[in-house]
């Protein structure tokens, strides 16, 4: 059923409304800051300065953004096929396992530029396979994918904990993580790009994965809007019956979409594992999969929006770290609240302000608000 809402100009739909939703999320977050006795405006200044004030800050911001681009794209690809993949978290975690296996076995014999492509394939494959099972169960047995992917996040966590405190842990070590990779499995940094602009960088983990993320964003755009497969995914996403009519196999499209989604999730692990930590540790994903939901919603499922939203969240993570340093009452968990508020206002409440905006537009310039024609359905 189409909503009886009047149409808004595209810029209002894709720019103004998300901006208003985002602002409201930040205003509410501001109240939380006040509640703990700090000045929200000063907090905002510290946050932005921490994220963009110095070269190192920018590099960190982009490093975090890289992770979120992957998970945001992962959520978005599934969403275009009307699949709510809450399993990005677990798929990324298992993707890390694939990377660990590649790096641990090859890092002493090969250079990074050989290992990297292999690791990409491994991460994507492991992530895709972890998405495959819920997809299969949805397609063949009708099991609700939201619930199965949640379950698979917990199962993934158990599997990884088991491996990281057992088989993958080097003998004699106490920490639940793999051994550190050798130089062959360390990805080159990209900090020099920021230094080109005259900024100084002490040490920051921004690495080549950022470029990979941008490439993937472009490929996802191409997939969704320019390929037959994307067309089929969107058809199924809007109307499974129309997809059946058009000869699109439900099983094939669900499984394909979820595997692509899982692959993107798995590739997220490259960034922290090979680009920064150089090992696989317990809980290295630390919620990035869930951030992907916020990023995808914020970016309205479009790769350009997702890259921008990912940078915004990267800024929050980096700026949030600075904030925690400057204002002891505020820890990085503030970001978790903001994330929740963004999901609430940009996602669940996305239409809350729309009627007001429409009324405003209608009163300012009635012409800009074309009314939707009704369907031929009996009134």
């Amino acid at each position: 059923m189409s909503t009886p809402y009047a149409k808004l100009p595209a810029w209002a739909d894709y720019g103004l409304i998300p901006l208003i939703n985002l602002s409201v999320a930040f205003i509410v977050a501001g109240f939380v800051v006040m509640l703990v006795g700090e000045n929200p405006f000063r907090a905002a200044v510290i946050l932005v300065e921490g994220a963009f004030g110095k070269g190192t800050g920018i590099a960190f911001t982009l490093f975090y953004a890289t992770t979120f681009i992957f998970t945001g794209l992962s959520v978005a690809v599934a969403a275009h096929c009307s699949l709510f993949n809450i399993g990005t978290e677990g798929q990324a975690y298992i993707g890390g396992l694939g990377i660990a296996l590649v790096c641990l076995s090859l890092d002493s014999v090969m250079p990074w530029w050989v290992i990297f492509p292999i690791a990409i394939v491994a991460a994507a494959t492991f992530g895709a396979l972890w998405g495959l099972i819920p997809a299969y169960l949805q397609a063949k047995r009708g099991s609700h994918i939201v619930i199965t992917t949640i379950m698979f996040n917990f199962i993934a966590a158990s599997v990884m904990v088991y491996l990281l405190v057992g088989p993958l842990k080097p003998a004699g070590s106490q920490a639940p993580q793999t051994r550190n990779f050798l130089a062959g499995a360390e990805l080159p940094k990209l900090n020099w790009i920021i230094e080109l602009f005259g900024a100084k960088i002490r040490s920051a983990p921004l690495n080549i994965c950022f470029l990979l993320a941008l490439v993937m964003a472009f490929l996802v755009w191409l997939l969704i809007w320019r390929t037959r497969l994307g067309y089929e995914m969107r058809t199924y996403g809007h109307s499974p019956k129309a997809a059946r009519y058009a000869g699109i196999s439900e099983t094939r499209i669900i499984i394909t979409a979820m595997m692509i989604s899982g692959a993107l999730a798995g590739m997220m692990a490259l960034n922290p594992v090979m680009g920064d930590q150089h090992n696989v540790a317990i809980d290295f994903v630390s919620g990035a999969g869930y951030v992907g939901i916020a990023v995808a919603l914020m970016g309205r499922l479009h790769p350009v929006g997702i890259v921008l939203a990912a940078i915004l969240f990267g800024m929050l993570y980096q700026g949030g770290a600075e904030l925690a340093f400057e204002m002891p009452a505020i820890s990085r968990d503030m970001i978790v609240i903001i994330q929740g508020l963004v999901i609430l206002f940009a996602g669940a409440l996305e239409h809350m302000f729309r009627p007001y905006i429409q009324a405003l537009f209608a009163s300012v310039s009635p012409k800009s608000v074309g009314m939707q024609a009704v369907n031929g359905k009996g009134a």
Binding site: P4, V32, I155, D333, I335, G340
Partner: protein
């Protein structure tokens, strides 16, 4: 006799561990039966736990703690309602949001108010719910078989434990013997039928969500004021999701819910008990396997290999009057 005592101990901790699951599971039952998916059980439990322990510590009263836990948890349930009922937002998205807001705000506020790294002050006697010893429990404790069962399993729990188990028949009664229950089941199946019968769909669903909030609040209070002497960050540790799994496992029925939660509680208790020690025949079972088992079982159930779980038909779909 050692074997028997060990079993009693495992069963005793099974009860203790199932209580928060059971409360959260019944909480979810109210909202899902009314047609609102709620993956925000985890978050509501967490704010309940935090609010309960904080208020109990500040006002030196367990009851005030419990009341606050319920109040705050209901408030979060109403936010879910505002998004998913009033504004017809995506229920999954709203649930995810609530879990995040809960996770972040409990830590931030806890740190700001108590400066103990996100913990609340350790609760003193009187600020937490104490175990109730049933009459004669001490006297017959040493009687073989019956003694330990009475003294350990039946007696010696806090009031919230008994409350949780009492909620099972009560919820059944509400669902199938009261007007509210009839309407709630109807609105989860076909809200249009409820609307045309002259009943407000929104108000009905809000009331169901208030029930959800009350029970998640009690579940949270149990975690921080009974099981633990205070709030620790992220202390729900996925229990809200296990409760959700149990709800599916129970096919949205109250009595089944109790058995599902006892089963999942037992798996947890057994995992703790067995920690590292080998089982007969099977040998050593990794703790992680036992921890993952509830999720694996739920997936198997969802896959339809052991019966079919059919959710309320209107679940997850915002109600819009058809034009």
């Amino acid at each position: 006799m050692d074997m028997f005592n060990a079993i009693v101990q495992v069963l005793d901790s099974t009860i203790r561990l199932s209580v928060p699951l059971l409360l959260a599971c019944l909480a979810g039952l109210y909202s899902e039966r009314a047609g609102i998916f709620d993956i925000g059980l985890e978050g509501k439990m967490l704010v309940g736990a935090f609010a309960g322990a904080s208020a109990a510590a500040v006002f030196h009263s367990a009851l005030i703690g419990l009341g606050t836990a319920v109040l705050i948890s209901v408030a979060f349930a109403l936010v879910h309602g505002f998004a998913s009922i009033t504004h017809r937002g995506n229920q999954i998205v709203s649930g995810v949001a609530i879990n995040f807001i809960a996770a972040g705000s409990t830590i931030i506020l806890g740190q700001a108010w108590f400066q103990q790294g996100g913990r609340t002050p350790a609760l003193q006697p009187g600020e937490r719910f104490e175990a109730i010893t049933w009459p004669g429990a001490d006297a017959i404790k040493d009687v073989p078989i019956i003694g330990p069962i009475y003294a350990e399993l039946i007696s010696g729990h806090s009031i919230l434990v008994y409350f949780a188990f009492a909620m099972v028949p009560f919820t059944w009664w509400v669902l199938f013997r009261t007007r509210f229950g009839l309407r709630m089941r109807a609105v989860g199946e076909n809200p249009a039928a409820v609307d045309t019968a002259g009943i407000s769909v929104a108000w009905l669903r809000y009331r169901a969500l208030i029930c959800t909030g009350i029970l998640t609040g009690v579940a949270g209070a149990y975690l921080s004021m009974v099981q633990n002497g205070g709030f620790v960050k992220d202390m729900t540790a996925g229990k809200g999701y296990i409760a959700l799994a149990a709800l599916i496992f129970a096919k949205w029925k109250p009595v089944n819910a109790m058995f599902a939660c006892l089963l999942f509680g037992f798996l947890d208790a057994a995992a703790i008990r067995l920690q590292g020690s080998p089982l007969p025949i099977i040998g050593k079972v990794p703790v992680q396997f036992m921890q993952a088992l509830p999720y694996v079982l739920t997936v198997i159930l969802l896959a339809g290999f052991i019966g079919k779980a059919i959710p309320p038909r209107a679940g997850g779909v915002p109600y819009v009057k058809e034009r």
